[in-house]
């Protein structure tokens, strides 16, 4: 039986993982696009990304594009697995 994941279940982090796992494997999205997609502030998004990164669910890459600093975010394999398990646990609760 799949178990709920406390780190992922928080509403903003849940939506972050939903967005990142929708992208093709190994694709990464830039911070500003993710912020606009989720409609959250820079600080709020940064804090939740940090939490997910600590858990090993996402990877954060800082790079320069046309001499400007850019931050890209992607879901790791562990993150994709944890998210799938969390979704399965949610579905099990509904079926009960």
């Amino acid at each position: 039986m799949a178990e709920l994941n406390e780190i992922i279940h928080q509403s903003v982090r849940l939506r972050i993982m939903a967005a990142l796992t929708t992208l093709d494997t190994d694709n990464e999205v830039d911070f500003t696009a993710l912020r606009d997609l989720l409609e959250v502030t820079d600080g709020n998004l940064g804090a939740h990304l940090h939490k997910l990164e600590e858990a090993g669910y996402i990877a954060v890459t800082k790079t320069f594009v046309e001499r400007k600093p850019r931050t890209f975010v992607s879901a790791t394999s562990a993150g994709r697995r944890a998210f799938r398990a969390h979704v399965a646990a949610l579905e099990e609760i509904i079926k009960k």
């Binding site: 178990e3 709920l4 406390e6 279940h9 509403s11 849940l14 939506r15 939903a18 967005a19 929708t22 992208l23 093709d24 190994d26 694709n27 990464e28 999205v29 830039d30 500003t32 696009a33 997609l37 989720l38 890209f72 979704v87 949610l90 579905e91 609760i93 509904i94 009960k96």
Partner: protein, 189 residues
């Protein structure tokens, strides 16, 4: 951690909403826009082939192709600005070179095969374009290029089954479905 079924339902609804929103806005699956642009170009261009004299149809093709290329480049840049994969930067030049080589091979095939009319000439070019799109799908994502198979089959069916109305077929039954498919992917997928 325990939650109620209604909370679980809410969470799943939020996931579904986010997934759909991501696909619409930033995912590489946003290929729907290229389908719509290509469908529009083919619809207008082939209608011109069917109903206008050859010399005028050429100008229509030139105009819609230029407009379509500009729109596609702009859409491509918009998507790649926000989403990048390990292959995006590394293979950008190789992909450009691939399309140049494909165009050269297409010219070679046309030179050797000597198409007997405009329909054969058109179909050869379209098949090469579809091969290119299918190759791109293998490089980036299977979801990007699966449409090339049914569209290629429709184009071949029109050429062999309805030669007298080939251009009209291409406009309505190939260009039209591409636009429709793009819109379906955009709104429903």
């Amino acid at each position: 951690m325990n939650i109620s079924p209604s909370e679980a339902e809410e969470a799943l609804a939020a996931i579904q909403k986010m997934t759909r929103r991501t696909r619409h806005t930033i995912s590489s699956s946003g290929a729907y826009i290229f389908l719509i642009y290509t469908g529009m170009i083919w619809l207008v261009g082939f209608l011109a082939n069917q109903f206008l004299p050859g010399s005028q149809a050429v100008y229509v093709w030139a105009a819609v192709s230029l407009l379509g290329s500009a729109l596609s480049i702009s859409a491509g840049l918009r998507v790649s600005k926000h989403v990048q994969g390990p292959l995006t930067g590394m293979y950008g030049r190789r992909i450009g070179l691939f399309w140049v080589l494909l165009a050269l091979f297409c010219i070679g095939v046309i030179a050797v095969a000597q198409p007997i009319d405009g329909k054969q000439f058109t179909l050869i070019i379209i098949l090469f374009v579809l091969v290119g799109q299918a190759a791109m799908s293998l490089v980036f994502s299977f979801s990007y290029g699966w449409w090339t198979l049914p569209i290629g089959a429709l184009a071949l069916a029109g050429y062999f089954l309805m030669p007298a109305y080939f251009y009209l077929w291409m406009a309505v039954l190939v260009g039209g479905p591409m636009i429709l498919l793009g819109l379906i992917i955009h709104w429903k997928w």
